[in-house]
């Protein structure tokens, strides 16, 4: 049972603060590190993996610092986001070489097992240069798992995977988490995190915006006010009708249509068309204007 501890960890590059005063514990099971691009997820992962020194604060794995401590890799596996691997090796050669670098007693058997787990047995004799992006991801996971680490860190592991590969990887990570390993993966896609992990750490602009059980955070996300841009055959009449509905928070009449703020995303989406039909108004455009992750996370920070 391994725990990663971050205490007031910050990391800056010159005047740019990449990670700002993060404190968190990551224990056994699968934890998702969620946030938009540029939020500092990779920086956090690199610091945990011992590939970046915190500018301030402490970062330990069961009490041992990871920075400048190669011994930590006996217990930790890293799957970096970058696609670069030794493309001139076959998948099997790459994983076996990693097993040898870990000085495992039986590197061939360890490689065979790791390749089997990631379902890469059929392609193991092909050079990595011929692999698809998804296959490269899986062979990187196989290499990271070859020494059966207690901690597995994955930076955007689902990038480039097709839906079947993605599902398989999710099952694999779930299984590893259920075995008591500490799995931390980063993603900017809400649905990936939702399907895989009960615990999430949400990062925005270098700060920890939310931390804990996914369902509670998801409720926060879905109950936030949503803004829609609506264009109709009669904007003013629809605005009057919307004002009387309980799900309407505010309506603004603009030269380009209506800006509607609703406190109930589901009810608004279900009833706007019915309302328009009852009022004999033709809807020509209905666009959610703040569905980006940044706006979702921004809401979490301010609430």
């Amino acid at each position: 049972m391994t725990t990663i501890e971050l205490r007031n960890v910050s990391r800056w590059y010159g005047n740019v603060v990449a990670v700002n005063d993060i404190t968190m514990d990551i224990g056994p099971g699968v934890t998702g590190l969620l946030g938009p691009n540029g939020a500092g997820k990779s920086t956090i992962l690199h610091m945990i993996a011992g590939f970046l020194a915190p500018s301030r604060g402490t970062l330990t794995l069961d009490g041992a610092a990871t920075w400048r401590n190669p011994e930590v890799y006996r217990r930790l596996g890293l799957v970096p986001e970058r696609d670069s691997v030794y493309a001139f090796l076959t998948g099997e050669q790459f994983v076996t070489a990693t097993a040898k670098l870990h000085k495992l007693a039986d590197p061939d058997e360890a490689a065979r097992r790791a390749i089997g787990i990631t379902e890469m047995a059929q392609a193991k004799d092909r050079k990595i240069s011929t692999y698809s992006k998804g296959m490269r991801q899986r062979i990187k996971v196989a290499a990271a798992l070859v020494h059966e680490p207690e901690v597995l860190l994955l930076d955007e592991p689902f990038n480039g995977m097709d839906p079947r590969q993605r599902l398989h990887m999710m099952e694999l990570l779930s299984r590893l988490g259920d075995e008591g390993r500490t799995i931390l993966f980063s993603s900017h896609i809400l649905e990936e995190v939702e399907r895989l992990s009960g615990t999430i750490q949400v990062m925005v602009a270098g700060r920890l915006a939310a931390s804990g059980d996914f369902r509670a955070i998801r409720r926060l996300m879905t109950s936030r006010p949503h803004v829609f841009h609506v264009r109709t055959s009669d904007d003013r009449r629809l605005a009057a009708a919307l004002v009387g509905r309980p799900y309407t928070h505010a309506v603004e009449l603009t030269s380009k249509g209506l800006q509607v703020r609703t406190s109930d995303f589901g009810a608004f989406c279900e009833q706007i068309a019915v309302l328009a039909r009852d009022e004999n108004i033709r809807l020509t455009e209905l666009l959610p204007t703040d569905e980006s992750l940044e706006s979702v996370f921004g809401y979490l920070i301010t609430n």
């Binding site: 990391r11 590059y13 740019v16 990449a18 990670v19 691009n37 540029g38 939020a39 500092g40 997820k41 990779s42 920086t43 956090i44 992962l45 690199h46 993996a49 590939f51 970046l52 020194a53 400048r68 190669p70 011994e71 890799y73 006996r74 930790l76 596996g77 890293l78 970096p80 986001e81 970058r82 670069s84 691997v85 030794y86 001139f88 090796l89 790459f94 070489a97 990693t98 040898k100 670098l101 870990h102 000085k103 990187k140 290499a143 990271a144 270098g206």
Partner: protein, 239 residues
């Protein structure tokens, strides 16, 4: 301690790249030049030390060492694949020692050995060939240590190396005598000249000075490269 797995991957990576052709070209030119001169001036005794000493130590050796020395680790750092090597408990000192050993071996193969072959092909130059071979071996060791260090310090290691070879060694060390104490080519010439004294080699340093400086710079280069690799950092998505 050398790591055979790291050595195997490094060898395959270095020899598999297209630029492997690059470090064979100077060697081919040297041997071809020697053959041409031997055919056109079979009895001359003046050209072998000029060609083998000047071209061999000023062009063949430093350029070959530059391409190999900066490539054995620098290429992996540039493309990011080095993280797969460093995310293992292999000691950073072992990584540097192994990369260095591979670089020296390949440089010796593609620069010192061709120097020996060319020397043996040249007329009346058996002893000179051996002296140049030993001098080139010393140069291979020191150049590789310096260029390996450059590759972990900067992504512009090749530019740094070219400036060092062309400006510092090619120009300044011939104009200002004091500059020679930091010229690897002159360490090589100093050793070669001690084995086979020849004023045409234009050695500016004694054997003792050459060997002492070569040892200090090699040891210092490898120590600093190891220290640098121990603090190797991956940049995040926030910068």
């Amino acid at each position: 301690m050398l790591n055979p797995t790291v050595a195997g991957i490094t060898l395959r990576a270095t020899l598999g790249r297209r630029r492997a052709i690059l470090f064979a070209i100077p060697a081919v030119i040297l041997i071809a030049l020697t053959l041409i001169l031997r055919a056109s001036h079979p009895d001359s005794v003046s050209w072998p030390d000029n060609v083998l000493g000047d071209f061999g130590f000023s062009v063949l050796l430093p350029l070959t060492a530059l391409i190999i020395g900066t490539g054995v680790l620098g290429a992996e750092i540039d493309d990011g694949s080095v993280v797969h090597l460093l995310a293992t408990p292999v000691r950073r000192a072992d990584v540097i020692a192994t990369k260095f050993a591979v670089a020296v071996g390949l440089t010796a193969l593609f620069a010192a050995v061709p120097e020996l072959i060319a020397g043996l092909l040249a007329p009346h130059s058996g002893k000179l060939a051996f002296a140049l071979f030993v001098g080139a071996l010393v140069g291979s060791v020191v150049y590789c240590a310096v260029f390996l260090l450059a590759s972990v310090l900067t992504t512009r290691a090749i530019a740094f190396g070219l400036l060092y070879v062309a400006i510092w060694e090619g120009l300044l060390s011939n104009l200002v005598g004091g500059v020679r104490i930091l010229s690897i080519a002159h360490y090589s010439l100093g050793v070669a000249n001690a084995i086979y004294p020849d004023k045409n080699l234009q050695a500016g340093l004694t054997l003792t000075t050459s060997v002492v400086l070569a040892v200090i710079i090699t040891a210092g280069g490898l120590y600093l490269a190891t220290r640098r690799l121990q603090t190797f950092a991956l940049t995040g998505d926030a910068i």
